[in-house]
Amino acid sequence: MSERASRLYTESTVIMTTVRFVAPFVFTFGLFVMFHGADSSGGGFQGGAIVAAMVLMLAFAFGLESTRQWFRSSAVVGLATGGALAFVAIGLGPIFRGGAFLEYEMYGIDHAAKYGIEGVELAIGAIVAAAISGIIFAIAGGFEYTEERDD
């Protein structure tokens, strides 16, 4: 397994430096697309895909194994679960305040609908980013058949 990963990984100063420089901007752009989906094009699905693209970019530059150690599958599942739970919580909140599902106005704050929508977009973005990077990590990590696993 580790031999295979090291074959994928080629150390390149140009790529590593470029990615190190570009990654924060891509991450910020992904968050921007998630939040700004309320007022211009974009939204959680697109922003999540951009954030996942940044994770893949890091994996290309710094090697799959080191990126996986930084973004373990427990973190991937945690991010996806957190996003799904946050969406459900934002949706169910108004019901406990006597409204309907996702009736943002029941939160009783100014621009509740807008903040609610941005929260939902962020939750979707977390799910999508975790899903894309998690699936690619899983496939890139190599398949291990259940019969062959010894744990």
Binding site: G43, A53, F87, L102, K114, G116, I135, A140
Partner: protein
């Protein structure tokens, strides 16, 4: 000017599609397919669909390409024997031509771009209602987001849960060699 850009983009996309079909080397096909997605994303942009363009660029050109490249590194890359183009599969080409012809035949039934009488646009109970009321009712300026996260928020939650279920299912079934 816009028409020129659109014609150039359509020509680029069609050229990439032909390259995907005709090239012999699998790696070249993957690269051509990424270029095809990127051209399509720009085409969406000229058609005033930036939301779709963003998704196409990130998923079609980015993530799908990475998936294909990963598949190539995990499997074998068939030898090309120095050939640039593969032999044309004439029965397949005939089926594809008939299929494309049938689709093109229905083209006149589609309303023109920007046609005010198009059913999807002129419907007073759906599209016009959302466009007229989205800002007052939700406070967001992007009507697509208003429909996704407010009017059809329950459906979107279903979609998000499907994506969540997909990643959990893949991680349960394909336990990659983490820590091994």
């Amino acid at each position: 000017m816009t028409a020129l850009v659109e014609v150039a983009l359509v020509a680029f996309v069609l050229g990439c599609a032909l390259a995907v079909v005709l090239l012999q080397d699998v790696l070249a096909v993957v690269v051509a397919f990424a270029a095809y997605s990127l051209g399509l994303a720009m085409l969406w942009l000229t058609l005033q669909a930036p939301d779709v363009a963003l998704t196409e660029a990130a998923i079609g050109a980015g993530v799908t390409t990475v998936l294909f490249l990963l598949t190539l590194t995990k499997t074998v890359r068939p030898a090309t024997d120095g050939q640039l183009f593969s032999a044309i599969d004439w029965p397949g080409a005939a089926v594809a031509t008939v299929f494309a012809g049938a689709l093109l035949w229905t083209l006149p039934a589609i309303p023109a771009v920007g046609d005010p009488d198009a059913p999807a646009w002129s419907n007073p109970d759906v599209s016009q209602f959302y466009l007229a009321n989205a800002y007052d009712q939700t406070g967001v300026e992007n009507a697509v987001t208003a429909v996704l996260a407010a009017y059809r928020g329950f459906d979107t939650m279903g979609e998000a849960v499907v994506v969540f279920a997909a990643v959990v299912a893949v991680l349960v079934v394909v336990r990659g060699g983490e820590g091994s």
